[in-house]
Amino acid sequence: MKIAVCIKQVPTREWQPRLKDDKTWIREQDVSYEMNEPDAYALEEALRLREKHGGEVVVCSAGPARVQQVIREALARGADRAIHVEADSLGAADSFVIADALAAAMADEKFDLVLTGLQSDDQGHASTGVVLAERLGIPHSTIIMDVQVQDGGLRIKRELEGGWFQWITMPLPALLTIQSGINQLRYATLKGIMAAKKKEIRKAAVPAGLQPTQQIVALGLPTRSKQTQMIAGSAGEAAKELVRRLREEARAL
């Protein structure tokens, strides 16, 4: 099976947001980045499918030169080669622009299966994978917790809300968005890191004429829906004060 995995590079979870002066995007020079977590699960699933059914795993990422970091990491974990759609403008692009950019670079590869994470930890539109499927002209399913290849097609377990699931069969080629927790992640070995250095990263250009579908007018800290009472002091003092307030004010004990 020829499997593509789309990964995005996003700010780390520890990152403290700081904004550019015009407050329409983050100050990128302050950011340290990592692989979008759901995409890491998609990569792991692709590697497991290759181990079972053979074939190759190709990592695809759209973004500025900096995204090479996560491409190298994916290659070190075991992906065979990579496609990098490179442009500075892709760093803050919306999911439709990203999907169009990826589709242009991926179409000729004729992948049997395309996996992505269910959403990104940065903009979080939860759209890129589904739009990409439509642009590639292949069927999709989302929030997947199990992938089985059978009779030349797929049998997949889709997560519904509130603890419900459903099995779906669909033909290949197809695109699936993968839910975190579908598998246990592996980490790169030293051997993998060394091998990754020799693996191919094909650079692709962004197709001309991609139009954004939305404009960020302003970014800011979210407004609080509640007036939070912050309790200060040492651990012992704060604990004592919290218990007092839970008893006397909130009557929650």
């Binding site: 979870r13 403290q16 947001p17 904004l19 983050i26 999911s95 439709f96 999907a99 940065d122 979080g124 539109h125 939860a126 759209s127 589904v130 739009v131 439509e134 642009r135 069927p139 999709h140 399913s141 989302t142 929030i143 997560e159 809300e161 509130g162 603890g163 419900w164 699931f165 459903q166 779906i168 069969t169 669909m170 033909p171 975190s180 927790g181 139009q211 579908t213 939305q214 404009q215 960020i216 007018v217 302003a218 970014l219 800011g220 800290l221 979210p222 829906s225 509640k226 939070t228 009472q229 912050m230 651990a235 012992g236 704060a238 604990a239 919290l242 218990v243 839970l246 909130a250 929650a252």
Partner: protein
């Protein structure tokens, strides 16, 4: 005209559809609103929604719409949008919408803004607020492109009981979705639940929930002791259950249980939106986190910024004293 796409399954309305109606009414600014009920058999969903102060309720039934598939929904909605010519199409940001709305937007080449939590202004010029960066930031965005704009509203962001009811029931009319059943590529089986949950967290009076901040499974004992001292059930955010540190049935959030206890203590939970939707209905929320900017503090009544490995044991000691 604003078209609200209600969500129903086999005639049972998803309550969040009323939230979408409330959001559409706030967005309308004088524009007429129609509600679209889509499915195989939609039962009483349309008559329920006809109580809303809207111009019309449209019912689109077709055997190929049940069970739900994204291919069938996109085919049906593409035709109905062409026929009805709305300027805005409004959805509930459910798992189902996430499955078909991006495909619909891609196919008809219209903008889609997802997970919207607030509206500034009205009509097609309105600015839409949505979380970004795991809720650490809130963005004000404007769609760019041709009408109609597609907008999905975060579940719980608008109040269902804020939806205005009409003086009389709105007229209900049938519309014919155009569908080619043979073009549907996904073949779904019946939904099922994994082994029945042994704990029903929705009935718990108090809950202590742990997140990534607990760092390892061995540290869970700290949370267990606190839960015992509070007479609380132990629960967790998704990553903890993904790691297998606690069973999935103890997961709170959009993919787990939704709870509304008297007291909810969040230990080392940053407060990603998928978690918040499962617990923000709790009467009193306590957040303990080392990051003062963690989104969990936005919904907390009481917050302590600090090391949970010091504060949780101190709380346990304090509770055991009295």
């Amino acid at each position: 005209m604003i078209l609200v796409v209600a969500e129903q399954r086999e005639g049972k309305l998803n309550r969040a559809s009323w939230e979408a109606v409330a959001a559409a009414q706030q967005l309308a600014g004088g524009m007429p609103i129609k509600i679209l009920v889509l499915g195989g058999v939609t039962g009483s969903a349309s008559t329920d929604l006809a109580a809303a102060a809207v111009t019309e309720v449209l019912v689109a039934e077709h055997a190929a719409l049940e069970p739900y598939t994204p291919d069938a929904f996109v085919m049906a909605l593409q035709g109905l949008i062409e026929q009805q010519q709305p300027k805005l199409v409004v959805f509930v940001h459910s798992y189902r919408t996430r499955d078909f709305a991006p495909m619909l937007a891609a196919r008809i080449r219209k903008p889609l803004i997802t997970d919207v939590t607030g509206i500034r202004g009205t009509g097609t010029d309105a600015v839409l607020m949505r979380p970004m960066f795991q809720g650490k930031l809130s963005a004000e965005v404007k769609p760019v492109g041709e009408l109609p704009y597609l907008v999905s509203f975060q579940i719980g962001a608008f109040r269902a009981d804020a939806a205005q009811r009409g003086a009389a029931a709105a007229p209900v009319s049938r519309v014919e979705p155009k569908l080619d059943g043979s073009a549907i590529r996904q073949k779904p089986e019946a939904p099922f639940q994994e082994a029945k949950a042994a704990v029903d967290l929705s009935q718990a009076e108090r809950i202590v929930a742990v997140g990534r901040g607990i760092k390892s499974q061995e540290n869970l004992g700290i949370a267990e002791k606190l839960a015992r001292a509070l007479g609380a059930e132990l629960a967790a955010s998704r990553p903890i259950c993904d790691n297998g540190w606690l069973p999935m049935e103890r997961q709170i959030g959009s993919s787990g249980q939704t709870v509304a206890p008297k007291l909810y203590v969040a230990l080392g939970i940053s407060g990603a939106i998928q978690h918040l939707v499962g617990m923000k209905g709790a009467r009193t929320i306590v957040a303990i986190n080392k990051d003062a900017d963690a989104p969990i503090f936005e919904v907390a009544d009481y917050g302590i910024v600090g090391d949970l490995f010091e504060i949780a044991p101190a709380l346990t000691t304090e509770l055991e004293k009295q």
